[in-house]
């Protein structure tokens, strides 16, 4: 018999581990990835491979040669970042865009802060926003969903939000635009037919991932639900006031990166608050900012910016939103 082990209590540990949590996120992303591959074919696959491989490589190189610390590539967190970035790219984007985005995401947004758990902003979103500003053409050339691995047709269609934004600016009403684009019904978008980023193809696929994450207790529903409710309520009020200029709740919930962002990006552990109260404030903030950017901003899409801006408030939310303490309230 080896020497007896002695340690402070507790002596058993839960099955949670960082690797398991990250693996669960990857499993939850699988439906969305498969749908994007189905609709966008080889180029989506190429982007996915480029993003994941670059993210892993950059992290490996930085940890091994710059930080000279144990290499933690296998904890899967950089793979999650890679997959999320790939799902945030236009499916027709060139491969080098994916590579640059990944370098920025891991190299700048994550590792400069000290690696896993230290970053202020969601790395994948930093990568995406960096690309959006640096390569606006490549990042806004959208493809309409195609069928199984067909040729990629890189000039057809803009995202629904871009269509509306463009149309309203040209003096059309929302109803006229929707009538001119028969593919833009909520039901259609729910089952995947809207143009946009690779991961936004199907709302259903994202919701399946959401349910999986909830069942595995990886995330709590607070942030996504707070975002959805806020967006629904705000857009509801706006569209009731002026249906000609503002789109309705269902349209806003199912378009753009809202589902992808609220389920997978806003719930990123590192860059979201730790307490229930903080999560709800965080979610409401993202919802409000998203609607404001979509309605009044120059970009048609606002989720990325909204999440990044709210990321900044997380330290503050963690400081001021304390959990419900035992023995301080409810006293008889």
């Amino acid at each position: 018999m080896a020497k007896t082990i002695v340690s402070p209590a507790p002596h058993v540990h839960s099955e949670f581990s960082t690797v398991r949590l990250m693996r669960d996120v990857l499993i939850a992303l699988a439906p969305a990835v498969l749908v994007s591959l189905y609709f966008y074919g080889w180029n989506a696959l190429l982007l996915l491979v480029c993003c994941v491989a670059t993210c892993m490589l950059v992290q490996f190189l930085i940890e091994k040669y710059m930080m000279k610390c144990p290499v933690t590539v296998m904890d899967c967190s950089c793979i999650v970042t890679g997959v999320l970035l790939a799902l945030n790219l236009p499916p027709a984007a060139p491969w080098w865009v994916a590579v640059i985005g990944s370098v920025v995401a891991i190299g700048i947004a994550k590792m400069t802060f000290g690696g896993l758990g230290q970053n202020v902003f969601n790395p994948a979103l930093v990568g995406r926003v960096f690309l959006l500003i640096s390569f606006p053409v490549a990042m806004t050339t959208w493809t309409a969903p195609q069928s199984w691995f067909g040729g990629v047709d890189a000039f057809s269609g803009a995202t629904p939000l871009a269509l509306i934004n463009e149309g309203v600016r040209n003096g059309q009403t929302v109803q006229e635009i929707l009538a001119a684009n028969p593919g833009l019904t909520p039901a259609q978008m729910l089952f995947a037919r809207a143009g946009g980023s690779a991961g936004e193809a199907s709302v259903i696929a994202l919701l399946i991932g959401f349910v999986y994450l909830l069942c595995r207790k990886v995330i709590k529903p607070h942030i996504p639900v707070a975002i959805w409710v806020t967006v629904a309520v705000m857009t509801g009020i706006f569209s009731l006031c002026n249906p000609a200029e503002y789109t309705g709740p269902l349209f806003n919930l199912f378009t753009g990166g809202l589902m992808l962002g609220s389920i997978f990006m806003a719930t990123d552990y590192v860059t979201s608050p730790m307490t229930d109260k903080g999560m709800i404030i965080f979610g409401v903030g993202i919802g409000v900012l998203t609607v404001l950017i979509r309605y009044f901003g120059s970009y048609p899409e606002g989720v990325s910016f909204a999440i990044l801006i709210m990321n900044l408030t997380v330290p503050l939310l963690n400081k001021y939103c304390k959990p419900v303490r035992y023995g301080y309230g409810r006293r008889k």
Binding site: M1, A2, T4, I5, V6, S7, P8, A9, P10, H11, V12, H13, S14, F16, S17, T18, R20, L21, T72, D75, S77, G115, L116, G117, Q118, K220, Y269, V270, P273, M274, T275, N318, K322, P323, V324, R325, Y326, G327, Y328, G329, R330, R331, K332
Partner: protein, 444 residues
Amino acid sequence: MITFKIGGVHPHDNKIAKEAAIAPLAPPAKVAISMAQHLGAPATPVVAKGDKVLVGQVIGEPSGFISGFVHSSVSGTVAAVEPRADIAGNLVPHVVIDVEGDEWDPAIDRSEAIVKEIKGTREEILDKIKACGIVGMGGATFPTHVKLNPPAGKTAEFLIINGAECEPYVTADDRLMREKPEGIVIGAAIMAKVLGGCKCFICIEENKPEAIAAMQKACSGYPGIEVLKLKKKYPQGGEKQLIDAVTHRQVPSGALPIDTGCVVQNVATSYAVYEAVQKNKPLFERAMTVTGQCVPEPRNFLVRLGTPLSFVLEAAGGVPEDAAKFISGGPMMGKAVANMDATTQKGSSCLLLLTEEQTRRKPESNCIRCGKCTDACPMGLEPWLLNKLSRAGGQYEALEENKIFDCIECGCCLYTCPANIPLLDMIRINKAEVMKIIRSRAKK
């Protein structure tokens, strides 16, 4: 079904010894009885080398208000009164007795008959409980007579008998409830009487249906005593959590349970009170589980206090090849045993053996700020923050602001952490430091 509100975790309960009846374990050839078996000041030995003692004879007397009597668990000759290493290897005064025969103090009623009628005044009963050395047997070992005697101006509304046994593996209380339900109920009735006839709840977690049935049956003649079924959740058996679950009251920070009108006692304590008051039997033996997947025969024993742990383990089939850690108590709050020659005490509910694979801590990685520790903390604290502040060093004010002193050291945070950060190790040390600062300030 009821449970407490904040936090908690769900470790696998692993009650593998639950079908093994409590078997009396014959005393070993030599026992070493610790004088520090209770919270507070150690008892003062009142025997000397060469003295003859009987089973149940007083060998240690209280040396302060929070202290207790210690009785001999065997008959024989005192071999030594000396400091010996306890389970942590620290020296504690022990009385070592060479066992000769098994002669009991004649005042002890050894019959099987159940004595239902509760005689004596409140003071008489309290004196009896004190004289028999009864302490909280759930693990905290707080002297029972002190708890049953609330300070002036405070009255108990509820007596909560704690049969939650939320610690995984441990089955001693479960077996006791199944085998001696009448005694437990009479013990509860005695304590309720001492506390001025308050309402009594016997709380049992749902994973012990047989115990619930047995206790319900035993309670039938007692209108003031009710059995409550609780959801399975750790740390349900924590005093504060149990009070929250049963009464929806919370013990204010820094206050005692009696401030919410509650007194919590373990089922084993309740049975010990019954034996003390009705049978005149001091606390010198207790039910103890010897368990673990690697143990050949997981058992429940009735052990004499002062029996070496190695002797108890031998009775359960010896030391398994793959046992890597010996734990006195449950896996969540029990203490790792560094010295197997240490002996059983009033608070030893379990001897748990875990293999290296089950218990070895995994390498620590970065905090991913998942907030799982915050969700798990039953006191609503933020273990990650307390850990961060503790590691920064000297941040005692910030730690106090974040209520580190409320930590009950239940281990939920360390249990749940996906990055295997030794949260509680750090918090425990700094909590002690902050408590010291608070106390020194109070003195000024």
